[in-house]
């Protein structure tokens, strides 16, 4: 009897310890906690970069934006699909919008390859899981990679609901056709993805994909500025985001 009482005492001490570490966890957890779910807290920063993809204008067989992006960022070109790295790619509509797709899709989307790249989510799951803050959200809304910090655990790849992250499975330098010496390559063993051209934004240039597109499919701008071009487009068009039910709040919008 006495033994059991002693044990219960010890057990309660242990559970107090447990409870306090849980509250510590709450304190540390990022802003994707309950507070962020209950209030829409997106407006606190002046800038939140975003993109509108107007798929009505996009030509099926044109890949100028993909080529431009992969050229300026030294993205390698591997033949083996297992090694391939992509910052921006095309995939069929039903694959991008599985929850929007139904049995009778309209002719203009049914067989159309859709552009897809990192959504720079407001509540990025990849950032939430990264154990070293190698992927992190900047005040301007860009979900950035710090290649110096990445340990290559690939937790972010399991977490990204959009499949927009690529790992460097092997050395990439030999597979870069025309190396751009003003932009770094990546070491094998780190994860990479679209960075909304933050290196170009720093020089007041638009993202490479936006600049090169002859059809003006892509509009880049500040989602937190109600008078920006991107907000005007969103005001006058019904736009969609990928998998809105997940609550990640993408900054990339599609006009179908």
């Amino acid at each position: 009897m006495n033994n059991r009482r002693n044990f219960l005492k010890k057990l309660s001490a242990i559970s107090v310890l447990g409870a306090s570490s849980f509250s510590l966890l709450n304190k540390f957890s990022d802003n994707t906690s309950l507070a962020a779910v209950t209030s829409s807290s997106s407006e606190k920063n002046k800038v939140r970069w975003g993109m509108v993809v107007d798929m009505r204008k996009c030509k099926d067989d044109c890949e100028l934006c993909i080529d431009a992006c992969h050229q300026v960022h030294n993205v390698p070109d591997f033949e083996n699909p297992k090694d391939q790295i992509k910052w921006i790619k095309k995939a069929p509509y039903p694959n991008l919008f599985p929850s929007k797709n139904h049995q009778y899709p309209s002719e203009n989307v049914k067989s159309k390859p859709f552009l897809t790249f990192c959504n720079h989510c407001e509540h990025p799951p990849c950032v939430r899981v990264c154990p070293t803050k190698a992927t992190f959200k900047k005040p301007d809304g860009i979900v950035e990679m710090d290649f110096h910090r990445c340990i290559g655990c690939r937790f972010c790849m399991a977490a990204c609901p959009y499949g927009e992250r690529s790992f460097n499975w092997r050395d990439s330098r030999s597979a870069i056709p025309n190396i751009d010496r003003s932009y770094p390559t990546r070491q094998r063993g780190v994860v990479e993805k679209c960075n909304f051209c933050s290196e170009r934004l720093a020089k007041n240039q638009k993202p490479a994909c936006v600049e090169v597109c002859p059809e003006k499919v892509l509009t880049f701008g500040n989602l937190n500025d109600p008078n920006s071009e991107i907000r005007e487009i969103l005001k006058s068009n019904q736009a969609s985001v990928r998998k809105p039910e997940l609550g990640a709040k993408p900054s990339v919008f599609y006009i179908l």
Binding site: E144, D146, S182
Partner: protein, 124 residues
């Protein structure tokens, strides 16, 4: 006090000491000449004093790296009040135009292998 197996212990200790001092005695008689670094022809002052740079360039570069990548902060204001773009390839190598004759000579001598060049590229 009697030590058991003193012979074996002694041998083991000698082997251990030889092993941990390996880097010292293996380089006995090697070339001790400090490497000659090629200084820039045109520029005469660095972002900070020569003494500071000699001991702290790696820390400064790490700071630059973190503030550019993580804080979007591209401008370095030196202790003399001058502004520089925080960039290894664009600022440092602009004056120190040959990394072989500047960076690498010293790094090879000191046997350090920074991984900057696994990703960053010298402009041609």
């Amino acid at each position: 006090m009697k030590i058991y197996d003193s012979g074996k212990i002694g041998l083991g200790l000698i082997f251990f000491i030889a092993l941990v001092t390996f880097p010292f005695w293996v380089s006995i008689g090697g070339n001790k000449q400090m490497p000659e670094l090629k200084m820039p022809d045109s520029a005469h002052e660095c972002v900070e004093s020569k003494e500071f740079m000699r001991t702290n360039h790696m820390r400064l570069l790490n700071q630059w790296r973190d503030s550019v990548v993580r804080e979007n902060n591209y401008i370095y204001v030196s202790s003399t009040g001058k502004s520089y773009v925080k960039s290894l390839t664009k600022t440092c190598l602009n004056c120190h135009s040959s990394k072989e004759e500047f960076c690498e000579r010293c790094h090879t001598y000191a046997s350090v292998r920074p991984y900057c060049w696994s990703c960053h590229l010298e402009s041609e």
